[in-house]
């Protein structure tokens, strides 16, 4: 079963939190791959997604964050992939929260608003750096929020 299916199948708890991590990592890798082709970050995201699928079955742990780039300025294609991934994760979380603009997503939405303000064709390196930074923060926020939400029943039971 793929990460896309598993996260919908499991009940809330640690296994679903791990399945969400696998879903987020796979989405990130797929969107980057579609927009920009293969890269170290894509390979790392797929590797971490595989580890998360194992964790969802009770083997091993879940990484704390999505893989990060080693340089500060992203290409336009990388930015497109990152934005597509963040939009997809946000949509999933909003659906999970049963609201179009839930307060839990405020920090993700703040980064998306910053991205919207600076999103232009052929941006210079200064703007690409800021866009990459905002998208990376937004992706990390979405990843963490998803893990908390999917583990919600376990947290409330403690």
């Amino acid at each position: 079963m793929s990460a896309y299916e598993l996260v919908d199948e499991l009940p809330s708890g640690a296994a679903r939190a791990a399945a969400w991590a696998a879903y987020a990592l796979t989405t990130y890798a797929d969107k980057l791959l579609a927009a920009d082709g293969t890269s170290d970050v894509v390979a790392e995201a797929y590797a971490r997604a595989a580890a998360c699928l194992d964790a969802a079955r009770g083997v091993g742990g879940v990484p704390d964050a999505l893989p990060h780039w080693r340089t500060p300025v992203r290409t336009w294609e990388q930015l497109v992939g990152m934005r597509d991934a963040l939009d997809a994760l946000r949509t999933y979380l909003a659906y999970e929260l049963k609201s179009a603009a839930p307060p839990e997503l405020a920090r993700v939405d703040a980064q998306l608003a910053r991205v919207d303000q600076l999103w232009i064709e052929r941006p210079p390196p200064e703007i690409r750096g800021a866009l990459g930074s905002a998208l990376a923060i937004g992706l990390d926020e979405a990843y963490s929020l998803g893990r908390r939400l999917m583990a919600a029943s376990e947290i409330s039971a403690q």
């Binding site: 910053r114 303000q117 600076l118 232009i120 064709e121 052929r122 941006p123 210079p124 200064e126 703007i127 750096g129 800021a130």
Partner: protein, 140 residues
């Protein structure tokens, strides 16, 4: 909007004077070549005298002619790149006690608001970071 005329001028609370330029073009950097490897004080002094014109020509080439040629060759590409992009550069330039340039980059949608915020900030002695703009700090 222009490279050679400030869009605004502003004086800070401590009397520091700023000219704020708004443009779509990032001018090519002025890069002087490294000085040549002349050796001094060795060999025949008459030989050193003969080398003097070449040293002067080398210095003139490295400090003026080569950087100017590089600048002029890259300038059209900079103009074209600027015209094709919706990015706008806002540079605050202070000439005293020494020249300093601070850079913000924004989009053409928000340039008026961002410019107002930057000018108000400089008037209050602050380098603000407006929404919808990227503050890059001091330019080298």
């Amino acid at each position: 909007m222009g490279l050679f005329r400030p869009a605004r001028t502003v004086t800070g609370p401590h009397g520091d004077y700023w000219e704020v330029y708004v443009s779509k073009t990032a001018l090519p950097a002025w890069r002087e070549s490294k000085p040549g490897g002349f050796e001094y004080g060795v060999g025949d002094p008459r030989g050193d005298l003969l080398e003097l014109p070449f040293m002067l020509l080398g210095a003139l080439w490295g400090m003026l002619i080569a950087p100017l040629l590089r600048f002029l060759v890259l300038l059209p590409a900079s103009f074209v790149r600027g015209r094709r992009s919706r990015a706008v550069r806002i540079e605050a330039v202070s000439g005293f006690p020494h020249r300093e340039v601070f850079l913000w980059t924004t989009t053409d949608d928000g340039v008026d608001r961002v410019l107002d915020e930057i000018v108000n900030g400089l008037a209050a002695g602050k380098f603000v970071q407006p929404d919808g703009a990227v503050y890059s700090g001091r330019e080298d």
